[in-house]
Amino acid sequence: MTVIGANGVAIPEGTHGDAGFRTYEVFQRERVGQSTAKIKPAQLVSREFADNPYPLLAVLRENYPCYRDWLNNCFWITRYNDVTSVFTDDANFETRSKAWHLGIEGFGTDLRAALPVLTAQANAWDLNIRRLAEAAVADFAPRGEADLATEFAARLNMQLWLAMLDVTEEDAPLIAALLWRLHRGVSWDPRICLDGIAAAEELAACLAPLLDARRSVPGGDLISAVAGLELADGPAEPKDLVATLLEMDFETLHGALANLWLALLNDPEGFEKVCADRRYVKLAVLETFRHSTPVLAAPRFARHEVERFGRLIPKGGLLLCSAAAANRDPRIFADPDRFIAGRKDVCHREARGQYRADGLAMGMTPGLGSPTAHPAVPEDRPRSLYALTRDTLVTASNTLLEAVDQIALADGVERPRAVCRRLGEMHTCWRLPVRFRIR
């Protein structure tokens, strides 16, 4: 029986029986001495925060590990063990799709979990990263200088995506621009959000002929993988392809590659170690994930009222799980603000659980999801996105190191740093001018 509430809204069957009126939500009153006066919520959406969130996050983590942010209507979770405990708790906390955040829920079906899609991505990245990295380096090497943020990190990420879709050079400029607008559209800013929604429609129209063509003549690319999928209501549509692309991580490879090189070039001693022993490249990548993850936080919504961290979280409550804060938790990592390639207290192996293996924790990168859903990777499945991204970053960096020598920050330019260009966007180094010598 459908129950109609007094406001004329239908109440779903089965939910009204035990709901009714609520009693006290939370014993919310703060006590003298528990005041959260060390931080103001407006600071957490300030330019200061977007530029460098770490000092403010440290205030939260060390004083208010579950901070009730009245202005932005969320709870900030900032300690490592707390964040992972939410990430592992799907029973109590839900992840809402990027489509929901973009305001186009139901646009298409997210097919990321389909094995052919996973395989297509892994193959495309594995097969193309060295070639593309060499081409990028070949383009800027003769100049003896480059902007590694755009000419290397941003470019490589986009080219891997284009390779993954196997688009022609002719289509590439349009599709690249649409992909950028689509992913950037997941924003609180209505202008950018609308642009993202428009990009989703345009991209679906643009990819439709490719999807049709590959359904007839499939290749090994991601569009072909989607074309071959049968959904409950028929074959996958262009909107399903776009929905899948939207939900995929777009930021981490780009952002982490720029952040990795920013960190290395700011740490000559560590950089020397990496150059001398390439085994350290992987460790530097892992340390980048920990020290400067481009995706700072992941939102989770309480599925129902749940008591955690000394608070009663109401149903629907937003938990902003800050990977950035957790990754610098001194309870987990010694001297956490320092970038140390090869640090002893970070896990050097792929995690076997939520960001943990060998009894050690690893850097959280929310964009990449859980490190692995299949600890002992089955032979028919590609490795996790975490591992794939790590290896791609290693290959790209090794390619650069093999081609050039004496890389250093360019002289006479403002010291590069990582920032969010707009609140909520990825935290990375957007300009990284360097000079070098060709080997």
Binding site: G5, A6, N7, V9, P12, T15, H16, F21, R22, T23, E25, F27, Q28, R29, E30, R31, V32, T36, A37, K40, A42, V45, S46, R47, E48, A50, W70, L71, N72, N73, C74, R96, E105, A135, A136, D139, F140, A154, R155, Q159, E169, P173, A176, A177, W180, S187, W188, D189, P190, R191, C193, A198, F301, P314, G316, G317, R421, R422, L423, W430
Partner: protein, 478 residues
């Protein structure tokens, strides 16, 4: 374009001008009152709404053109920056207020951080029981019996102006006296009344006023938050002793003739057995804090706004002067035009779809009373102040709202189960206090020189979404 790169790297460039961008505290230009800053347009021509405006100085002084955009184009606006849905049309808000199962009062606001848990957090029968504990003192015959005391408080305060030696509050020159009506009267008057109705000893009034001010300024994680918590603690420490005494020996409110009207609120709360147990001191303190918070700031704002707006409309002021009964209309029209309470938070218990917007269960839905009061679907020329309007109910305040003969009630007190229990006493304080003020003030006028100025440095600062902070009045001495 790089030779091996099939696309231009320009796509990664920052496309927007970031001048003035300080995160969510974007530096919006201050616009002439009534005009909205152009936040851009969607391809379909709809004006865009940038959620950062809600935190801006521009919005605080000039909110109504922005609410109009929301009402006309986004009646349920999902603010992704602040994780909030704003409901802005009168009819929608009314429906939500009446459905307190579907739109629950669990607050995600900040007041309870300082005030403590109150019936604001409750719905249904639990809410009703607690609300009635003191609500009964603020309505009907009980209230009527209190009116002489309200009038006495007003006369005492105004009579004391002669002895005030503080030029920021009261000053005289050439037969003209200048008063800052807030400090001289409106700030403290409602607190004195509340203090008396609660049953606080007279000697505690100064402390009480300090606690009130500290708690109010300490709401919302502000810089004075710690002070607010300390004040709340002091209040609780003080109340503890009173409650223990009243549990043994209740005290009463008396009318002018000295006859007892009823037990005062603290005595009543102290002896109340609710849900098979007595209320704790903590609960009683929280309720007192709520009564103080609800009864102070709002009535203060109503009195100041009413005088300010009437004096800006001399013909309406003249009409009130000539017809004492028009104070009721002036009070209600003031609250419709510029109330002190912006809205109330609700949580939707279930997933709902309103105006095509899917709102997941448990979302914070902010019912914007300010906007409902300026909804042109209900009130004609809503930005205009007129005490003679024929679409506003100015009679008895009803929990059911009012929708007869084309007249609707304003939303400053809300409607439905959570209608402000202090609505009636607030009305009496503002109207009775104003009547006495009017008798005292000969030829009152705004001292424009001392008032806060707008962006042009000449005109008066718009009321916006805050009430008048200081109202400097000149009047002729007899």
């Amino acid at each position: 374009m790089a030779t091996g790169c099939p696309f231009t790297l320009d796509i990664f460039a920052e496309p927007e001008d970031r001048s003035g961008d300080t995160g969510a505290q974007f530096d919006f230009p201050l616009m002439p009152e009534g005009q909205a800053f152009d936040m851009g347009h969607a391809p379909d021509g709809r004006p865009l709404f940038d959620p950062r405006i809600l935190q801006s100085a521009e919005f605080f002084r000039n909110p109504y053109p922005y609410y109009r955009i929301l009402r006309d184009h986004y009646p349920v606006y999902h603010d992704r920056l602040h994780n909030t849905y704003y409901v802005t049309r009168y009819e929608d808000i009314t429906r939500c207020y009446f459905d307190d199962e579907g739109f629950n009062t669990i607050p995600k606001g900040s007041s309870s951080g300082v005030l403590g848990n109150t019936q604001l957090e409750l719905s249904g029968v639990e809410h009703r029981r607690r609300r009635n504990l003191y609500g009964q003192h603020l309505v009907g015959q009980s209230l009527k019996n209190r009116i002489p005391a309200i009038q006495r408080q007003a006369r005492e305060m105004i009579g004391a102006w002669d002895g005030i030696n503080d030029t920021a509050v009261v000053s005289e020159s050439d037969g003209v006296r200048t008063v800052e009506l807030g400090m001289a009267f409106a700030n403290e008057f409602p607190i004195r009344v509340v203090c008396e109705v609660l049953g606080f000893p007279k000697e505690a009034q100064d402390d009480f006023y300090y606690w009130y001010n500290s708690m109010m300024s300490g709401l919302g994680g502000s810089e004075t938050h710690q002070q607010g918590l300390e004040a709340r603690q002091h209040l609780e420490d003080y109340v503890e002793g009173i409650v223990e005494a009243r549990r043994k020996q209740p005290t009463y409110l008396y009318d002018e003739a000295g006859d007892p009207i009823s037990k005062d609120i603290i005595s009543k709360l102290s002896e109340t057995n609710l849900d098979v147990d007595y209320l704790s001191t903590e609960e009683i303190t929280s309720n007192i804090a709520l009564v103080v918070g609800g009864g102070g700031e709002t009535t203060r704002g109503a009195i100041l706004n009413m005088w300010y707006l009437l004096l800006l409309h001399p013909e309406q002021f003249e009409a009130v002067r000539n017809d004492d009964s028009l104070w009721d209309a002036a009070f209600h029209e003031t609250l419709r035009h510029s109330s002190s309470i912006g809205g109330q938070p609700r949580h939707n218990t279930y997933d709902v779809v309103m105006h095509g917007v899917k709102v997941p269960a448990g979302s914070l839905m902010e019912m914007v009373d300010f906007s409902a009061n300026h909804d042109e679907r209900v009130f004609k020329d809503p930005e205009m102040l007129t005490i003679f309007r024929d679409d506003l109910s100015t009679g008895k305040i009803l929990r059911s709202g009012y929708n007869k003969n084309g007249r609707r009630n304003h939303m400053a007190f809300g409607v439905g189960p959570h209608l402000c229990p202090g609505a009636w006493i607030s009305h009496q304080e503002a109207v009775e206090g104003s009547r006495i003020l009017l008798k005292h003030l000969k030829n009152p006028r705004i001292n424009v020189e001392r008032m806060a100025k707008d962006i042009d440095g000449v005109g008066l600062r718009p009321l916006g979404i805050v009430s008048v902070r200081e109202l400097h009045l000149d009047y002729d001495l007899p």
